[in-house]
């Protein structure tokens, strides 16, 4: 078959997956044109990624919750509340950062387990259980910030999480103005990806799995390498990789590995696909429900840390609507409400779509009311596209 024939066939049969990448690309091109290139500037992209961080980690946790056919509405205000707890621990209890972060994450896990309790043990719908959590954490957030109002966090180490960048080599004259370690990391990532893909392909061939034709494989490698190098180049032109991006990528990588390669991941998707069959296969559905909500709580804590450190303060309204953005990101990224379907990498893309829209429309000076309408419509379109392609592939 011809090169373009192959290309068309592959895009067609993976349209659902590629669809969101294409959508993201379209959004990028549109805003770049509409803002005369400001959108694609190093500074804006760097900002955009940092804004994505606290939504992306929530979306990753939410993906698993939706995969096992549940929902967690409480995580927005939980993030806000835990951000405030972190601020209080730093400013009033004078605890060091390296104690505060694990403490807050542990609290997040506990909060997730508490939400899971009525769901797993008593069969209460997670929508209701987490709606109760939404109210409770909102109340708690107001309570702890009641006396002080906004709590300023005067801690440089903590604030670096949301605002800092990874260090660079001391002055080298080579490539002035570029962040060299970022570039180096980009190049290493490209090499690792190529080596990994080749190994994977060889393995698949050895086991007679279906593989894409060689030319398509090369095209895929080139495209992915170009994207990684492009992004690192853009970032290196500003301050390099931020700590937020590093954390976000680490979270996505760990969750991606767990969901695609481990027994735990299989169990989660099996429960989503058919909880009764999973139970009869010896999977402890209750335990897994606790684990998934626990992980969600931990991600809420991380989100709270990223957000409060980015603002260098804890506010009384922190976290409002985060849960909605995270749920929207997960759906744009292809999770299915029927359960058992959805990838964490997809949810990362979904989160990027959401923040790109906000960032682009802010640059264009579009007012906030219209922004909500546009974002709502994009969500709807994404889900319609998802359902339509799913039906077509049947």
């Amino acid at each position: 078959m011809s090169f373009y024939g192959d290309l068309k066939k592959i895009i067609k049969s993976n349209i659902r997956e590629y669809g969101m990448y294409i959508a993201l690309l379209a959004i990028f091109i549109f805003f770049t044109v509409a803002t005369n290139g400001i959108f694609i500037s190093s500074r804006n992209i760097s900002n955009l990624l940092n804004q994505t961080g606290y939504i992306a980690v929530l979306a990753v946790g939410m993906t698993l919750v939706i995969v096992i056919r549940h929902i967690d509405l409480s995580v927005g205000f939980l993030a806000g509340f835990l951000g405030a707890v972190a601020a209080i621990a730093l400013t009033q209890w004078n605890l060091p950062v390296f104690v505060v972060i694990p403490l807050v994450m542990a609290l997040g896990i506990v909060a997730g387990l508490v939400t899971a309790f009525p769901v797993a043990q008593m069969g209460i719908p997670s929508f209701v259980a987490s709606l109760a959590g939404w109210l409770i954490y909102r109340g708690l957030l107001l309570l702890v910030t009641l006396r002080t109002g906004t709590i300023i966090i005067p801690n440089d180490t903590y604030n670096a999480i949301g605002n800092g960048f990874i260090p660079d080599f001391p002055e080298i004259s080579f490539l002035p103005g570029m962040h060299k370690i970022t570039l180096l990391i980009g190049v290493i990532a490209v090499i690792l990806n190529i080596v990994g893909e080749i190994k994977n392909r060889k393995n698949k061939i050895a086991y007679n799995f279906e593989v894409v034709p060689m030319n398509m494989f090369i095209v895929k490698l080139i495209v992915i390498s170009a994207i990684i190098l492009g992004i690192t180049w853009v970032l290196a032109g500003y301050n390099g990789l931020s700590w937020t991006v590093v954390i976000m990528l680490a979270v996505v990588m760990v969750y991606h590995y767990v969901t695609t390669k481990t027994v735990l991941g299989r169990y989660i998707y099996a429960i989503g696909g058919n909880p009764e069959a999973a139970e009869l296969s010896g999977i402890d559905v209750k335990k897994m429900t606790f684990m998934v909500f626990g992980s969600m709580g931990m991600m809420a804590a991380l989100s709270g840390i990223l957000f409060s450190s980015r603002l260098q303060s804890a506010t009384t309204t922190a976290g409002s609507l985060f849960e909605m953005d995270a749920i929207a990101a997960a759906y744009i990224g292809g999770v299915s409400a029927a359960g058992g379907v959805g990838k964490v990498t997809g949810s990362l893309i979904g989160a990027l779509v959401m923040t790109s829209l906000t960032s682009g429309m802010n640059l264009m000076g579009i007012d906030i009311s219209s922004q909500y309408v546009v974002r709502g419509m994009v969500l709807l379109l994404a889900v319609i596209f998802d359902v339509a392609t799913r039906r077509a592939s049947k």
Binding site: Y207, F209, T262, V263, Y269, A270, G273, L280, G340, V341
Partner: protein, 507 residues
């Protein structure tokens, strides 16, 4: 022009990687009962889906003539209007709704187009129930009725429209003999009133019993159309044409090696189901020996599945009393996982409901209950998973273009084989099979029986729950009969007859 109500010509339908139908031609005479038979995956259900518009015109090639007029259905509503009604094996009733609501669901009776006229609905529903000879209160919730009655309600629902051609896809696979006989009486009755029926079934005896004409499909092709009234139809002929070879002995012989050691023993088991508020099992005592196949006979709903679930970690949450011994050691399983660890496996009767993950592929389903076997330190080794799943696919002859095909896309019988493969993969000492051959063809049945025999010869013990008496008599060493949650009889197979078992099962 002719007396054919339906003619399908050169129908071809392809799915990615499979040609499900390859120029199939199929004609049905007016007023007959036409049986469609063939192996699992032969294309029977697909052909009927083409006919009823599930796969609309354009997704297949070929021509469909109804009463000599070409039809191009673009959906099931079109075929409904043309007088075709299809009843799927998976019943499509709403369990929480009443009988009369279900019968008129989708075409409610209304005087003003807004409010439903419930009195008229109930009156007409009562008439429909009379037509299908079902004696239940139309206000009963569907979930409180057995499958046999639900089936009749589906037919009643279909009959509310003006039906000329009634299609039933494996209606009898979960019915007991009485319910089957009832259904057939009804079909004969409808025939007298001018309704033509197409019946898909794997039970060849009933095909011979009721069919006027039989069409055999194999690998997506029409093999033959046989006229029962000319004596062309017999079990041997059908098997040969379906499978392509002869099967002389439906129940393969086994080198019996029943040991003396009792592998599993249950004493004074009682179970109470708090959800429906009644006892489901009472005073159950039984045992199984090493290398033994023990049949559990009884009517549908007699409590055999409940018994299996009680042994298998009690996932439904019954309140259980009594003792369970495995190899003489007292055990108590609070979760299926513990039962699996102790060497017990349970193949469910409801593969779609709680057996398989339909949206996952064949290999993931096969490995699910024993992922430890293909993983190290919690990481799944996909290569060994692939290799092992392929072995099981070959051993059970699961027909699928690839083991990466979603189970959803397999034919019913091949799904059943995946379900069996999944539990063989666990390598159990005690295998509980709940209606293991439901919906599978003669050839595949033979394969499953052969596997059961091999396991028994290896010293494994098997509990086989089955509503098909010939199967119970053909495969078991010993038989327990279950009736209303109690064990009403026990006998070695040598002393068993169908009449004796039925007598114990019904009192």
């Amino acid at each position: 022009m002719n007396d054919h109500i339906l003619e399908m010509k050169f129908i071809t339908k392809e799915f990615p990687g499979v040609k499900a139908l390859d120029e199939v031609s199929f004609s049905v005479k007016r007023g007959e009962i036409h049986c469609l038979v063939g192996e699992n995956g032969a294309g029977k259900s697909t052909l009927m889906k083409v006919l009823s518009g599930v796969y609309p015109f354009g997704e297949y090639t070929g021509e469909i003539y109804l009463n000599g007029v070409e039809q191009k259905f673009s959906g099931i509503n079109d075929s409904k209007k043309a007088g075709i009604a299809i009843i799927y094996q998976e019943l499509a009733l709403i369990p929480e709704m009443s009988v009369y609501e279900n019968i008129f669901l989708g075409h409610e009776i209304s005087n003003n187009g807004i409010a439903v006229n419930w009195n008229e609905t109930i009156k007409q529903a009562t008439e429909m129930l009379k037509k299908v000879r079902l004696n239940v209160n139309p206000a009963t919730k569907v979930k409180d009725l057995g499958v046999g009655k639900q089936q009749l309600i589906e037919i009643a629902k279909a009959l509310t429209q003006d039906v000329k051609l009634l299609i039933l896809d494996e209606p009898t696979s979960s019915l007991n003999e009485d319910d089957c006989e009832n259904l057939f009486e009804l079909l004969r009755d409808l025939k007298k009133h001018g309704v033509t029926s197409i019946l898909i079934s794997h039970k060849l005896k009933e095909v011979i019993n009721i069919g006027d004409t039989v069409t055999v499909l194999r690998d997506g092709r029409t093999i033959s159309t046989l006229d029962a009234h000319k004596g062309e139809v017999s079990e041997n002929v059908l098997i040969k044409q379906m499978v392509g070879r002869e099967i002389n002995n439906i129940y393969p012989p086994r080198r019996k090696a029943v040991g003396n050691e009792v592998v599993l023993e249950v004493k004074n088991l009682n179970a109470y189901n708090p959800r429906i508020g009644r006892d489901v099992l009472k005073d159950i005592n039984f045992n199984i020996k090493k290398g033994e196949i023990v049949g559990f006979a009884g009517l549908v709903g007699s409590g055999r599945t409940e018994l299996a679930l009680s042994l298998f970690g009690n996932p439904v949450g019954y309140q259980i009393e009594g003792e369970l011994y495995i190899n003489g050691k007292k055990k108590k399983f609070n979760h299926p996982r513990q039962a699996i660890k102790a060497g017990v496996a349970y193949v469910t009767e409801d593969r779609k409901g709680n057996g398989l993950i339909l949206i996952q592929d064949v290999k993931q389903n096969i490995s699910l209950a024993n992922l430890d076997r293909v993983s190290m330190r919690g990481v799944v080794n996909e290569n060994s998973e692939f290799t092992i799943a392929t072995e099981y696919k070959d051993a059970l002859d699961i027909r699928t273009p690839s083991i990466e095909q979603k189970v959803l896309n397999l034919s019913g019988g091949n799904q059943q084989k995946v379900s069996v493969a999944k539990w063989l993969f666990v390598d159990p000492e005690i295998l509980i099979l709940d209606e293991p051959t439901r919906g599978i063809d003669v050839g595949a049945k033979y394969e499953i029986y052969t596997i059961m025999n091999r396991l028994a010869e290896e010293g494994k013990s098997i509990i086989m729950i089955s509503s098909e008496l010939p199967e119970i008599l053909g495969m078991s060493d010993r038989i327990y009969v279950v009736s209303s949650g109690r064990i009403s009889g026990e006998m070695p197979v040598e002393e068993a007859t169908q009449e004796k078992i039925m007598h114990m099962a019904t009192n």
